[in-house]
């Protein structure tokens, strides 16, 4: 597959940082995913060729990392933390609220309009500002139900 100009520039920069080709694999897969929405078979094959490893080995790496996915997510992936510090301050209730608001019933499910997906995640490093979630890479902290409604409305307005 052909990478976008932006990805090609990123690849050229990163490959020069390491003594081995495959070293850029983990962060670079995430950059591909940011553009494509998920890691397609074509992208996996392309990375295999570029890193001089098999596609199977690329998949082997992908399956280890929680953030890498081989299936689509919503345009905005809402990742609600329910780990211990968030749990103590209502993380599970926040997750339920997000799911109800977006009509998503299963973990990693996508809303009917395809705009949002909801994922229960492990600690995102927002323990002192719990409960917290990330929408794509943006942190949203000290959450309550009203705040979540506002955040989701703001993202919906961006579509």
């Amino acid at each position: 597959m052909k990478f976008s100009d932006q990805l090609e520039a990123r690849f050229a920069e990163m490959i020069s940082h390491y003594p081995t080709k495959r070293s850029l694999l983990v962060p670079f897969l995430l950059y591909i995913q940011d553009e494509l929405g998920y890691l397609t078979q074509e992208a996996i094959d392309e990375m295999g060729v570029r890193c001089e490893i098999t596609s199977l080995e690329v998949k082997n790496v992908i399956s280890y990392y929680s953030m890498l996915r081989t299936k689509p997510a919503g345009k905005y992936n809402v990742q609600v933390c329910t780990n211990i510090c968030c749990l103590l301050r209502g993380g599970e209730e926040m997750l339920e609220h997000v799911k109800n608001r977006l009509g998503v019933t299963v973990n990693k499910g996508i809303s009917q309009d395809g705009v949002f997906s909801v994922e229960e995640v492990e600690c995102i490093g927002a323990c002192s500002w719990a409960p917290a979630m990330q929408v794509n890479y943006d942190f949203h902290e000290n959450l309550d139900e009203n705040k979540i409604d506002q955040i989701l409305a703001d993202y919906r307005a961006k579509v």
Binding site: I84, C123, C127, W129, F139
Partner: protein, 440 residues
């Protein structure tokens, strides 16, 4: 971004530039930035390592290994290139300090890593930032670019003849990668499966070369130590525990946040005075004092000094600086269950005691909390945890076992209160179906 807190008892060293715009290199230079690395170049490797030893700085990632000693293990001569690797894969539940360091003072991490490189004779530095911290990684990327633009990195830094390259690297979501050998695997583009040691990274590390791996907070402390002097830094803390530490207060406290306090600060004071005590008129039940992997302390055990040695004497660890406070309305069984769910999810499956142990503990605690527990389960959980401890390649198995051992030992009565189909005394009703009993 995350809000900053402050308290009069704080001694601001690592956090001294927080909120002052120091992510910008010109501002960082105004605030004494890049002075330490120049001084380090004049001092030379041996003097830097001696200064670090004098400072009594111990690794802030959790293990508390003396930093100066770690650096001294790197062989002077090496056929393969040497590396410095900054561990910014902050993932320990309860810990959110490196995030603030990257946001407010990324150049301090870069400068600290450069000094480490000069001390061990490395010419390449990698700063690994966890995948979830993309916004922080972008701050680090910008900071590195600024340092190159000023000529602080690259060839012949500060006219010393020393070449030093600094690179960034990102993760993609894996707690285990915070373990040093898994971190190196991840940087080499592989699954983060830990390596067996020896050989230790200081001898055989990244791409087979000698490698120093330090936590971001450890490295951010280094420029301050070089500028203020190791002895002055050591004097801030208590014997064998130099300096300050960023304590991340979370859970049931009135003023959660990240506070920088001298090592040896009293935990009780930290909870009741610095963090404003327990809200809603509730009482303290337990504290997990060093991130999710350490055994808890009960309310009667919190009058204790927060340093590596005192905590170990009390049967727990200072760990990563994540202080998680639980009030008396918290169900310990539920808390233990959520803790083990995390470790089960993060276990890579390489070592059987960890893979099976976390899975069975999760299954048992799920059923137990759901009202399907039998008396034998309590000892079974202890048995499972006891048999995970010390029997895995990396400390993830220990990290999963130790909190469970602590909860079962210190809160046995609360486990018993869940027995015989009785509902959770804290009215927690998990919607999870009953799972099989391990053994009767």
């Amino acid at each position: 971004m995350a809000t900053l807190v402050s308290h009069p008892d704080e001694v601001k060293i690592v956090t001294s530039r927080f909120g002052k715009g120091a992510a910008n290199i010109d501002r960082y230079i105004e605030l004494d930035g890049y002075k330490a690395v120049k001084k380090a170049l004049e001092m030379g490797a041996d003097a830097i390592i001696q200064e670090m030893k004098t400072s009594n700085l111990r690794g802030r990632g959790g293990a508390g290994f003396p930093t100066g000693m770690k650096w001294s293990f790197v062989p002077k001569e090496s056929a393969k290139p040497k590396y410095v690797l900054c561990n910014g894969d902050e993932s320990e539940p309860g810990t959110c300090k490196d995030r603030l360091i990257f946001e407010h003072d990324p150049h301090a991490v870069i400068e600290g890593a450069m000094i480490a490189a000069i001390a061990v004779g490395a010419h390449k530095v990698y700063i690994y930032v966890r995948g979830e911290y993309r916004v922080l990684l972008e701050i680090v990327q910008k900071a590195i670019a600024e340092a190159y633009a000023k000529g602080f990195c690259g060839k012949n830094i500060f006219g010393s003849g020393y070449d030093l390259d600094v690179y960034w690297h990102g993760g993609a979501g894996a707690y285990e990668v915070g373990e040093e050998s898994a971190l190196m695997e991840s940087l080499e583009g592989k699954r983060g499966i830990p390596r067996i040691r020896p050989p230790f990274p200081a001898v055989v590390g990244l791409w087979g070369g000698p490698t120093v791996i330090n936590n971001a907070e450890t490295l951010a402390s280094v420029p301050h130590i070089i500028l203020m002097g190791g002895q002055k830094y050591a004097d801030v803390g208590v014997p064998r525990n130099g300096g300050t530490r960023l304590f991340c207060l979370s859970g049931h406290v009135a003023k959660p946040g990240v506070y920088e306090l001298p090592l040896g600060y009293n935990l009780k004071k930290l909870i009741y005075e610095v963090a404003g005590g327990i809200p809603k008129g509730h009482k303290l039940k337990a504290v997990v004092p060093g991130g999710s992997s350490v055994p808890c302390l009960t309310a009667d055990e919190v009058d204790i000094a927060l340093d590596f040695d005192s905590m170990m004497k009390a049967g727990t660890f200072l760990g990563s600086g994540g202080v998680i406070v639980l009030d008396d309305h918290t169900c310990i069984v539920k808390f233990a269950l959520r803790t083990i769910k995390f470790y089960r999810h993060e276990s890579c499956g390489w070592c059987i005691p960890c893979r099976e142990g976390t899975d069975w503990l999760d299954k048992t605690l799920t059923r137990f909390h759901n009202g399907g527990g039998v008396a034998k389960d309590i000892d079974n959980m202890k048995y499972l945890a006891d048999n995970m401890l010390g029997r895995t390649f990396c400390p993830l198995g220990d990290a999963a076992a130790m909190p469970i051992q602590g909860f079962v030992k210190k809160f046995r009565a609360e486990f018993e209160a869940h027995l015989d189909g009785r509902p959770c005394p804290f009215a927690e009703h998990p919607a999870i179906s009953a799972l099989p009993v391990l053994s009767h």
